[in-house]
């Protein structure tokens, strides 16, 4: 029997790392052995406009786009622009925002720190997350991104 599909939306503005965070997330899910689909719009993403990526996983995923009102986790890197996506959440869906991460030194790593927060809710072993992170960045950035991820994963920040 198929397990229910889990739907994650990562949203922000061009330049905030929405696409790289969604690539790492999809890679981690893939490495964990699930069926996964990731859908995003490129093109205008580098010009500071709104960017969002849909990641869906489970035993079997059909549409690559999350149906309205079925988002389980909304990772809002730019919460001031997330109103449109809030309506896409399930009634019991969670929204993860920058305030959930305490003590991040490099604001550019916010996308990865929020993946750390998200990781607390997903059935993916920590070692797989590390592998996905390492495949997503050049070697010289591994340590800083692992630290940002761990800050989000281990932090005591609340989730909304």
């Amino acid at each position: 029997m198929d397990t229910p599909v889990i739907n994650i939306k990562i949203a922000g503005l061009g330049g905030m790392g929405v696409l790289s965070a969604s690539t790492i997330l999809a890679e981690a899910i893939f490495l964990a052995g699930y069926d996964v689909k990731k859908a995003e719009i490129h093109g205008m993403s580098q010009r500071g406009g709104s960017v969002a990526s849909d990641i869906r996983f489970g035993t079997r995923v059909l549409s690559p786009m999350i149906p309205l009102g079925e988002v389980d986790y909304l990772v809002a890197i730019a919460p001031e622009w997330a109103d449109a996506h809030r309506a896409e959440l399930r009634p019991a869906g969670r929204m993860l925002v920058p305030g959930d991460v305490d003590g991040l030194e490099n604001p550019r790593a916010l996308n990865v720190a929020l993946l750390g927060v998200l990781s607390r809710f997903l059935p993916i072993p920590e070692a797989i997350w590390h592998k996905a992170l390492e495949s997503g960045f050049p070697a010289k950035l591994h340590a800083s991104n692992l630290a940002a991820f761990q800050l989000g994963r281990d932090g005591s920040g609340k989730t909304h």
Binding site: V36, H42, S63, M65, P67
Partner: protein
């Protein structure tokens, strides 16, 4: 073949997570494609970039028509050619498509054409399925990356078996969605390149084209028969209360929206397997054709007497998704959704186009614009670009306005075009300007940021580098303008020389001469990359040819 920059790693199960574009590139590699060529266009751009990175021979052409011609030469020489473009690119290449359908090919000729329903990054949402019917060529429509991989290989097999161009129609959510692919490499072997003289089938004068048209229709009849029995279709058995006929990405939305339905997914949508469709439709109580964009399936099925429910006009517009398919199946008017508040894209902080357009705005110019990042100058706060239709149109449209407007307004008209767009299809507009100058003259500003920025910083014939960023000869727009006899050709740095640019523009607008101004400053997003490419070229060992003789031992 060059050393690959990238390989696709498969896991223990032999699968990888790939976008549709990447999957097509991998299939091209596994098919032994001789040459991939195209012009960048969202969402098709990554096909050739990935094919090149994987070690394939890929190149950017100045525009889609040239790409399709180069590819046709490959296919006439019994090679395998892959041409990539976005939907509007096929308008540019259509001249090649229609008559190559008549001539046929000796090798494999596949056009991967990417539609953008909902216009994430396009000026219209035209439906390429109409072209397959109009030109009379087979069309395959994958619904995920696995099918993108499989159908790319099948497209070459069909092209070579029936000696006909084939369109692989992809859409934004197939191109840019990552889904799991199991590559298998089980494709038909490529033919061996050779020239076969066959003037009656390769020279499309009327006496040859008349029988060629009949041959084309005969091929299509054969392909239809094959498609009925062996086409890449899928029937998902379900309840006989509801039958869904669908293709492409709409398949995935439909399967999710109606989990119990019987579904016929059409992998090859031209020529349609109407007998298969009729037989499927006869077995269900209610039959619905679910498709994104134009009502191509709906119209064809109803014309053939297949009793599908009429589709509401609202479903012609925008992208389809699971929610919309649920509404469609529930019947009744589609609920109106309020577009979400999204931050629109804008010209980057520090973008050189900002300086250029500030001057145009100060001088109250009427700007005939073109396609590229600089189209964003039409948006607030600048609002300094007044028209935009298609690639290269700025020059012709500016001339038309100059010919027509009262003199005081005509003198304010300026055509603004990017460097890549100018080389794509602005050159012929400039020839028109030299040939039919308006009474008030005209001014063309080429905003040259030394890259194809909008689609993601691709090279073009003016950058001096090939698709893979290695050295190429460099086409200078100013030299083209001078060669055409344009009297006033000047190059400015729009950031550092804004005052001089303004002054020269003012005097050009006041004169009745023809002027071409080139505002040249690298895109700030490309600046670092260009430096790295140039450094790599400078450090690369020179190719060993006659100019690089080995030292001779005494």
């Amino acid at each position: 073949m060059t050393q690959p920059k990238r390989t696709i790693a498969l896991n223990a199960q032999g699968v990888a997570l790939l976008s549709g574009d990447e999957a097509i590139a991998l299939a091209a590699l596994h098919c032994g494609v001789t040459l991939g060529t195209g012009y960048p266009g969202t969402p098709s751009t990554e096909i050739l970039e990935t094919f090149s990175d994987l070690g394939g021979k890929a190149q950017w052409a100045p525009n889609e028509k040239v790409a399709a011609e180069v590819a046709l030469g490959v296919a006439f020489a019994s090679g395998r050619a892959l041409v990539t473009m976005k939907h509007v690119g096929l308008n540019v290449a259509a001249d090649v498509l229609f008559t190559s359908a008549y001539s046929g090919v000796s090798g494999g000729y596949v056009l991967a054409c990417a539609d953008d329903p909902g216009m994430a990054s396009s000026q219209n949402e035209q439906d390429t399925r109409r072209y397959a019917v109009a030109a009379g060529v087979p069309m395959l429509e994958p619904s995920n990356s696995q099918e993108a991989y499989d159908f790319a290989g099948l497209a070459f097999a069909i092209s070579e078996r029936w000696q006909i161009p084939v369109i692989l129609r992809i859409t934004t959510r197939v191109c840019h969605s990552h889904t799991i692919v199991k590559p298998h490499g089980k494709f038909t072997a490529p033919p061996t390149p050779c020239f076969v003289n066959n003037i009656p089938e390769r020279v499309m004068v009327p006496a040859h084209a008349r029988p060629a048209h009949r041959r084309l229709r005969k091929k299509l009849a054969e392909i239809k028969a094959w498609n009925e029995s062996e086409g890449p279709h899928r029937i998902i058995a379900g309840s006989d209360d509801l039958g869904i006929i669908t293709s492409g990405i709409a398949t995935m939305h439909a399967l999710e929206a109606a989990p119990g339905a019987s579904v016929l997914q059409l992998g090859m949508t031209h020529p349609l397997p109407m007998d298969l469709i009729r037989s499927f439709a006869s077995r269900v109580k209610r039959c619905v054709a679910i498709e994104e964009g134009d009502p191509c399936l709906n119209d064809a099925l109803r014309a053939a007497g297949v009793r599908v429910e009429p589709r509401l006009e609202s479903y012609r517009f925008g992208e389809l998704n699971v929610t919309r398919v649920r509404h469609l199946l529930a019947g009744g008017e589609e609920p109106q959704t309020v577009p979400p508040r999204m931050k629109p894209p804008q010209l980057c902080e520090g973008c050189p186009h900002r300086s250029t357009f500030s001057v145009l705005k100060e001088l109250d110019c009427i700007v005939a614009g073109d396609i590229g990042c600089y189209t964003l100058a039409a948006m607030p706060p600048l609002q300094a670009l007044n028209t935009q239709i298609c690639m290269g149109a700025s020059i012709g449209m500016g001339l038309g306005m100059r010919h027509t407007l009262p003199e005081d307004q005509a003198r304010r008209v300026v055509s603004v075009i990017g460097d890549s767009t100018f080389l794509h299809s602005g050159v012929t507009g400039l020839i028109e300007m030299a040939y039919n100058p308006p009474a008030t003259g005209h001014v063309v500003v080429i905003v040259d940021n030394s890259t194809t920025a909008m689609t993601g910083l691709q090279e073009h014939p003016g950058t001096g580098r090939k698709l893979d960023h290695s050295r190429a000869s460099k086409v200078a727009p100013e030299e083209i303008a001078r060669a055409l006899g344009i009297p006033n050709v000047q190059v400015f740095n729009p950031v550092k020389e804004a005052a001089r640019f303004k002054q020269e523009l003012q005097s050009a607008l006041a004169s009745s001469a023809l002027s071409v101004f080139i505002a040249r400053q690298s895109c700030i997003l490309a600046f670092g990359k260009i430096k790295a490419y140039e450094k790599a070229i400078a450090e690369a060992p020179p190719a060993c040819d006659d100019t690089c003789a080995q030292p001779v031992a005494e």
